[in-house]
Symmetry: C2
């Protein structure tokens, strides 16, 4: 099995180095990115939406040019372990998800995914061997089009930048407006 | 100048490979991460909060073990270009920001940061040489403590997982509850 041109073991090494540990969600995530990329036309410029921020986002950042910081990866939390990879100009692409119907063939993947047993009672070796054997076999995808707000050619205006009259730091607000922290909308510090 | 044990040029190569382009925010971000790390005790386990998702998040993901997918990096948007790096068990740490007072010495960094001129009228060579010369000179930091909700030892309960009665996919909701997409709270597809 390969994941986006990497051998399974090469991918595991990459996961360990970037994500810090070989979490099952990173294996599932890598395979899901592979499903998405093998079902999109080559050479297209695509953006990604992850429907969860857990693991999946790191698989996307490792295997594609899309990162949180460059804005080509967005997180829109629907509580589901799914990703949408789409042409950034047309919004057309594929949505990949873990298919609970297909999990009947993969008991340990299902156990992990549905949290059927606590983590310390899961069988990691069996889980890994099922991932190797299953390959893309536990995923499904549908072709989709995302809403216009996620498409590149919708005109965007550069955000204004001004000094917040509260904290004195630059913020992306109109001149004279308090930043969200000084407005009390976001509270970070104890 | 070094950025977290990398030479400036090594860091630029890393930025190009992960982020896709050498954006000024990535240079500023790398230096800010360096400020944070050199003002925290060595060997501590820390988490990071970025107050913006632009660029800064990628600098954190490249230079520290903290990523979006492993949960050690959070984005809490205050519209400000700042990061908080803190001991994940005590919540104590440092908040690093671009100090607009200090920008008076660095005209081109200020021009970029305050968007004084459109991007195509900015002088990239001058900007880069000011970054090299300034080093940490345009940043300030304060010691802070983040709110308990961002601290590790606050008890967390594992989210439940069940099949959404709407789409049939697993979601992090109680049995029988529609996922946020099926509830209509989040709308992704056209």
């Amino acid at each position: 099995m390969k994941i986006c041109n990497l051998t399974f073991d090469e991918y595991l090494n990459m996961v360990e180095s970037f994500h810090g540990s070989v979490a099952p969600g990173m294996i599932a995530g890598g395979i899901m990115v592979d499903v998405a990329m093998s079902n999109l036309p080559e050479g297209e410029f695509f953006d990604v939406i992850c429907e969860t921020q857990h693991c999946l986002t790191d698989a996307v950042q490792m295997l594609t040019p899309c990162t949180i910081g460059n804005g080509w990866l967005r997180i829109v939390d629907t509580g589901r372990f799914a990703l949408i990879m789409y042409n950034k100009y047309t919004g057309e692409g594929v949505r990949v998800y873990i298919d609970s119907e297909k999990l009947h063939s993969w008991s340990e993947i299902r156990c992990w995914f549905m949290r059927e047993r606590p983590k310390h009672e899961q069988d990691t070796d069996l889980l890994m061997s099922q991932f190797r054997e299953a390959g893309q076999g536990f995923c499904s995808f549908t072709t989709v089009r995302v809403r216009d707000e996620y498409v590149e050619n919708v005109k965007k205006h550069a955000s204004p930048t001004s000094l917040c009259p509260g904290c004195g730091e630059a913020c992306m607000e109109k001149e004279g407006t308090l930043c969200p922290a000084c407005r009390g909308e976001v509270s970070l510090l104890a």
